[in-house]
């Protein structure tokens, strides 16, 4: 770290010196402010847990760096407990959405930015494994995790951490007002009663969109899913680019959508979205304003792994053990709105009360996804968007 910091300060002193010679007093103020900004930043740098290239300082052995996507959140208190138990401080680096974060790791393979990567899901798993991103490690406590989510049980290159179900959500009020039963399955969605009601996400740009499509592939098979989408298109499905837009603007059941006067009472979202609608409403309602069509779900499983070339392997292993510990597993749901994988982790009341239990989600094997994904996305695009 000492290098970049020295570097940055010297740039700025150079910058402020040049400018001071160029500048009047007025400008010197700006320059000074900038310089001050930098020196405070540099000063903060040391209080940020190991700001900068981890593993290059004397602190390296005490810092373990977790690289993740933007959705990773953990309570500071829980991370602090990890530090107390093991002596390692967790330094979190985030870089974009799940796809972008993973691809950056693939680009820097062998000279990673951190020790552990969290956030590769079953739709991207093969890409990570084929690129040899991870060093095998069997985490302590794996016996508490069901076999069906351990997709790399042979080699333990990745450890399952959480699951999330992508399902159609419906606006309860709309269906009550129209005296219409909400849809429950993929087959329901193409019925005339639900014409022009569904909004989903672009498969090419959104992971919920992709998950929903994979759900239809699992349900109708390699031959039938395109016919299903033709019917869905004829039934007026609307496609927008991302989840935010679909959920917060088009969907009539969400808070954002109500404000934006969204007029689609069906949206592709998560099984954990209704609890979020309850948690983030003031005052909290007695029942969730939205429900889940339980037979339209596709299960996402998120994994973490020890990065190949990690500078702090011991710390990385300790962190992986910790990620499947009861403490961390129980901390996840209210932070990331995902379900824990460990059998002994209890769900918070909010989830048991307002969430939907998905008993038979659809799934597709990671290598099948890897083999066909691009072709599927292309076919879907020309079928649905053109």
């Amino acid at each position: 770290m000492s290098h970049p910091r020295r570097n940055s300060v010297s740039t700025t002193t150079r910058a402020s010196r040049t400018r001071r010679t160029l500048a009047t007093k007025k400008l010197t103020v700006t320059a000074l402010a900038a310089a001050l900004g930098v020196s405070t930043l540099a000063a903060c740098g040391s209080s940020d847990s190991g700001s900068g290239a981890s593993g290059k300082t004397a602190k390296a052995s005490k810092t373990v760096t977790l690289v993740s996507h933007d959705s990773f959140v953990a309570s500071p208190s829980v991370l602090k407990e990890f530090t107390e138990e093991t002596g390692y401080t967790v330094h979190v680096l985030k870089s974009g959405d799940a796809g972008a974060a993973l691809n950056q790791e693939i680009l820097t393979k062998g000279s990673p930015r951190g020790d552990v990567f969290f956030g590769v899901d079953n739709t991207l798993l093969s890409r990570a494994l084929d690129n040899g991103l991870f060093t095998p490690y069997e985490a302590k406590g794996l016996d508490r995790i069901p076999a069906d989510v351990q997709l790399d049980a042979e080699k333990h290159r990745v450890t399952p951490i959480d699951t999330g179900d992508l399902c159609v959500n419906y606006d309860k009020k709309y269906f009550a007002d129209h005296k219409l039963a909400p849809p429950q399955s993929f087959d329901d969605l193409v019925k005339p009663a639900y014409k022009n009601l569904l909004v989903t996400e672009n498969v090419a740009t959104s992971s919920p969109g992709l998950g929903f499509m994979l759900g239809t592939v699992a349900k109708y098979g390699d031959s039938g899913w395109q016919d299903y989408w033709k019917k869905l298109k004829a039934n007026g499905v609307k496609v927008v680019d991302g989840w935010e837009q679909a959920y917060n603007q088009e969907f009539s059941g969400s808070a954002g959508g109500r404000k934006a006067k969204g007029d689609r009472p069906l949206v592709v979202s998560y099984a954990s979205s209704p609890p979020a609608e309850v948690l983030y409403a003031k005052p909290q309602p007695k029942t969730a304003p939205t429900g889940v069509a339980t037979s339209t779900c596709f299960r996402q499983i998120e994994f973490a792994g020890l990065l190949d070339g990690a500078k702090n392997e011991a710390g990385g292993k300790a962190l992986l053990d910790f990620l499947i510990s009861k403490k961390f597993q129980e901390d996840m749901p209210l932070n990331m709105f995902v379900d824990p994988v460990a059998k002994d982790a209890e769900l918070p009341p909010l989830f048991t009360e307002f969430g939907a239990k998905i008993t038979a989600p659809q799934s597709v094997a990671p290598d099948t996804i890897a083999k066909n994904r691009d072709q599927w996305v292309k076919s879907w695009s020309s079928l649905v968007l053109r």
Binding site: N103, T205, G242
Partner: protein, 551 residues
Amino acid sequence: MRLGLLVVPVAFFAVFFAYPVAAIVGRGLKVGGAWQFGRIADVLSSPDILHVLWFTTWQAGASTGLTLLIALPGAYVFARLEFPGKQLLRAVVTVPFVLPTVVVGTAFLALLGRGGLLDQLWGVRLDTTVWAILLAHVFFNYAVVVRSVGGLWSQLDPRQEEAARVLGASRFAAWRRVTLPALAPAVSAAGLMVFLFTFTSFGVVQILGGPTFSTLEVEIYRETAELLDLPTAAVLTLVQFAAVGAILALHAWTVRRRESTLKLVDPAQTARRPRGAGQWTLLGGVLAVIVVLILLPLGVLVEHSLDTPGGYGFGFYRALQSQGANGGTFLVPPIEAIWNSVRYALVATGIALAVGGLAAAALTRRAGRLVRGFDALLMLPLGVSAVTVGFGFLITLDKPPLDLRASWILVPLAQALVGVPFVVRTMLPVLRAVDGRLREAAAVLGASPLRAWREVDLPMVRRALLVAAGFAFAVSLGEFGATVFIARPDNPTLPVAVARLLARAGELNYGQAMALSTILMLVCAVSLLVLERIRPRAQPGGTPSDRSGEF
């Protein structure tokens, strides 16, 4: 001496731009040590890509024309007319520039979309049409034209036009023969900037265009970040390079005539209270445009941020101060996000001013083809997608002493790359307009070159420098592309915090996102106002710029 000034900017661009971009493009086009130029033909013959290219160019042209049409009268009004609240308004029109596209998309949907204002008034919906994209582009870029063209316009000596009138020219002829030629470089520079911006538009197109409209920038992002199809991304990056190069060449051709030496005067002397029906109408028209096009979308945001379930109030703002509900730790308190944003922006502005200022000083006098080429090079970062630069950083800045991949400095560096062209563009026309004889006179009187620069050039460009700083700061505050996927320790900036809130379900999150956007708007407006305030006042006894008017 002049080339000495170029050392810093050249080094900066070589290390933080040319090398990373070349590396990532090279990785895409080189398979097993052999260059695969055949890939270029493959990609370019695909109808999908051609369609994307056509749409990208078409919408950028239309957006630029529309922006100039709408903003040039605004530039005149801000430059030449004096009216109460002018400074505040100047800051307000710059606010859109820093808003994250996510937020702007939301605001425009609320205006143009279903159940939006237009829908309620006249039943008009534009949300999935190209009009939404064009209007949002005007909203973003209005300030670019007003500030850069208006900045120069306010310093043109009105007496020159008056002299032409005395000699018998009509009002229009006087404007066309005197003022317009003087403004032309600034207008074409602003137009060029707007074109580059809209050509590389990402967020606006994604949100307002839906999946049916896609620009080159969106395509490059997808191929690089999502699909990791580096060969295709490399080809598209080269295409974008070629396009940007063509734009720059065109620009050079239109301003072949070098900026003439202008008589610059203190802006405080050129603005007057509106006189005559014509000026009043123009002022009214410009204000109406600003209200409809800029204040209305911003107002929608503010309204949403106050519209809590229990009636209007500051509930969402209060919620921002807590560490998230139920012990959730999703958000740093907004104070912290604001502070993060401001810190990044200060550093980025410092870097951009240092690099851009040195470059502009070096480029003031035409010094052969080499320097002119560098002038064009400085513009290139505007035409290269953030994801290309970001991923280039990843594979190049990975060895000591430059292992910056996990350092916070990467973010301001990437932001400064975008800021530098602004600084150069805003300062160059003014610097070049300084009468060289003044420098010579100073030299004859025994001033060192530096002293001459300080006494002659600086007082005249101080204004441009502040405008440039304002731009660089604003760009950095609202910058979202690089900030998002350049890995950074978890200290979110305001735009990132907004995007994270919008990415979660629930009323409180949506409301807090709107509240944070409003705060972002305010932070931006306040910083810009402060910049306006520290503009030097004309001192009694005449400022150097007065004297220059008398040579």
